[in-house]
């Protein structure tokens, strides 16, 4: 019988901790090195969209469910947190819980209905549902502020710790904490038996059924978990931006996060975070120079799909493999 070490297969490989710790250290030190508010804000936004992109990666990369309506959960959570904060209380626990819960509660029926279809039909159904959420955000002016959006969302208050989240750095660290926590939890999920079930459904759904899996339930679990984390990103976004509008639920937002996942590298969890970073930083640079950001983003995306389909993570992986092979020679 193989020993415990020999059992270790590709997905169980223990990740080298070094680079991870170095990155975390860099992220923590960053505000001291570069106290510029602008860069801290950019990085905060990258971390928020990083969580959003990781959540979609769970669906696209790990379970093989190409959802084109993920912005629905992001937006619903953002709006819920904003509405609670502007009308009832700006307590962080309350707004956070309300937002994430709203996203999860929406994911259940939407997922249950969409999952019965596959491929392009699934894509269309998820798009349809998220456009319905958009329509609601647009029309229900009494709740959401309509096309003018919901403004004046305050930074939340966490009484116990006495933190002033209105400060850029403090908010950055709070977001970083949420990001790291999300990353750790999602890593755990992906390595767990459920995570392996996701991959099994992606690889061969009919065989999964033939070995006894209720694949509908597996897919629904992926959908809801992804929705919850997208909701977390949405809540953080509403704190960060102070303002939510229907365009945050529009198909372009779903498209944007999908682009982040593909460019970063689907199925790697970290790749999409890098994708979020690349896209947002590029957007900031390009938009300040020219109006042609959609053109450049589209062209970049096409380039990646053509030559670097496995994204930035794929490029890293291939370069490392090449380096190892030539080192051996």
């Amino acid at each position: 019988m193989p020993s415990r070490d020999e059992w270790r297969v590709t997905s169980d490989r223990r990740r080298r901790i070094g680079p991870g710790l170095a990155t975390i250290a860099a992220l923590v030190i960053f505000p001291f090195v570069s106290p510029s508010i602008y860069f801290q804000n950019v990085l905060t936004e990258v971390l928020i969209f990083g969580i959003f992109a990781m959540s979609l990666d769970l669906l696209i990369g790990y379970t093989g469910l190409f959802s084109f309506g993920h912005a629905a959960f992001f937006g619903v959570a953002a709006y819920t947190a904003g509405i609670v904060a502007t009308r009832f209380s700006d307590n962080m626990l309350l707004t956070l819980a309300a937002g994430v819960l709203a996203a999860g509660l929406l994911a259940l029926p939407l997922g249950a209905l969409s999952i019965r279809s596959v491929g392009i039909y699934f894509l269309m159904l998820t798009l349809a549902f998220s456009q319905m959420v958009y329509a609601a955000a647009y029309k229900w002016t009494w709740l959401t502020g309509g096309p003018n959006g919901l403004a004046g969302v305050p930074r939340p208050v966490l009484g116990i710790l006495g933190l002033d989240l209105a400060s850029v750095s403090t908010f950055y660290y709070a977001t970083l904490t949420f990001f790291l926590a999300s990353y750790v939890v999602l890593r755990r999920i992906v390595a767990s038996p459920l995570g392996h079930s996701f991959v099994g459904v992606r690889e061969n759904e009919s065989r999964m059924r033939a070995i006894g899996y209720n694949t509908w339930l597996v897919k629904l679990a992926a959908f809801v978990i992804a929705g919850l984390f997208a909701g977390l990103a949405g809540v953080l976004f509403s704190y960060f931006n102070g303002f939510i509008s229907p365009s945050d639920v529009y198909w372009t937002t779903s498209g944007l996060v999908m682009v982040m996942v593909i460019i970063g590298g689907a199925g790697t969890l970290l790749g999409p975070v890098l994708g979020a970073g690349l896209v947002l930083i590029l957007q900031n640079i390009v938009s300040s120079q020219t109006d042609r950001w959609p053109l450049i983003m589209g062209a970049t995306f096409i380039l990646f799909v053509l030559v670097a389909r496995r994204g930035i993570a794929g490029i890293f992986h291939d370069t490392l493999a090449l380096a190892r092979r030539s080192a051996r020679v």
Binding site: L113, R116, Y121, L123, A135, K139, R292, P294, G298
Partner: protein, 337 residues
């Protein structure tokens, strides 16, 4: 004095009580508003005076359906043959409309535009297929979907760059301005042209696919690509031609739409969404599905905008969701591989 519309048919009427003056018959105990028969008879099916607004809207819906059909036909056949959804299809439509705008401005002739622009866009489609899409065949259709998604973004921005973000309008060709008389009502001649042209094109397309060798090749390719290639037919060329033809049809739809819909950024996405719904509702891969799906969605959109203007898109999405839940492959579609 108010008269009861139901009077000639009223069961309460006794023979001999009917009065030619059409005033309330003496026997009627109910005022007009409360007579159940009166409500029935005010329906457009019976009373010509109320027929005309409905007729006009139905015709409007059909005109829109024809535009959708031209788009959906291309989408559906491309899916049937090559197994992927072209998310840049709305871009071809938009390009057709904007190029048509420029062509009409420069050349002054709508008819030249109607012929030249689709050919131009078809050529663009041909080139695109060979350069960008062909390398992705081996990788499965998902990658092609992603690529066309990127293309849609690029095209949308190119159009905005070149023509600006202002809303444009295109004048109708002088031969088709004015109104037709339809007996009970009048109807804009141009829209009548759209309906007739659409039906003619539908007929031509059906004839091509059902009666010609080319149509047989395309249908065979939809059913079994490998077999067709084994028969010595250059499948790659057929794919490129089908893609180009689909792009041309979409552009034609754009040129025809230009004189009665306005041109604005975002028209590509709106039309793409609707034609995707058409294709999904009708069923992927069939011309018949594209036609009937277009009728359903076109009418739903037109009447939706009248009855529930804020929710028309919602209604259409709801119809699509219901159809998919009951028939997961659309009305006439085949199952995904």
């Amino acid at each position: 004095m108010p008269h009861c519309l139901a009077e000639p048919y009223c069961p309460a009427r006794k023979p001999g009580n009917y009065r030619k003056s059409r005033r309330l018959p003496a026997h009627c105990p109910l005022p007009t508003a409360h007579c159940p028969f009166s409500a029935l008879l005010e329906s457009p099916l019976v009373d010509p005076q109320t027929l005309s607004p409905y007729l006009v809207q139905v015709l409007n819906g059909l005109a829109f359906s024809m535009l959708l059909f031209l788009l959906a036909a291309g989408l559906s056949v491309i899916f049937g043959m090559m197994d992927f959804i072209n998310l840049a299809h709305g871009s071809f439509y938009m390009l057709g409309a904007y190029l048509g705008f420029t062509a009409i401005q420069r050349l002054g002739s709508f008819w030249v535009a109607v012929v030249a622009v689709p050919i131009l866009v078809a050529g663009l489609g041909f080139g695109l297929e060979m350069v960008l899409l062909r390398p992705l065949y081996k990788r499965g259709h998902l990658d092609q979907v992603l690529l066309t998604f990127g293309l849609a973004f690029v095209f949308a921005d190119v159009v905005k760059w070149n023509w600006g973000a202002d809303i444009r309008s295109v004048p109708q060709p002088p031969e088709l301005t004015g109104a037709l008389s339809l007996g009970v009502t009048v109807y804009p001649r141009y829209r009548g042209f759209v309906i007739v042209a659409g039906l003619l094109l539908a007929g031509v397309l059906w004839a091509i696919q059902a009666r010609t060798r080319l149509g047989a090749i395309v249908r065979a390719g939809v059913a079994d690509k490998e077999m067709v290639s084994g028969l010595g037919i250059n499948v790659q060329l057929v794919f490129a031609a089908v893609f180009a033809f689909g792009a041309g049809l979409a552009a034609l739809s754009g040129v025809i739409a230009a004189p009665f819909l306005s041109l604005a950024p975002g028209m590509d996405f709106e039309q793409l969404i609707l034609s995707l719904i058409v294709v999904v509702v009708g069923g992927l891969g069939t011309l018949k599905g594209a036609f009937w799906g277009a009728i359903v969605v076109g009418l739903a959109d037109t009447f939706g905008k009248i009855w529930a203007p804020d929710f028309s898109l919602l209604v259409i999405f709801a119809i699509m969701a219901v159809v998919l839940l009951l028939r997961p492959n659309g009305l006439f579609g085949r199952a995904l591989a």
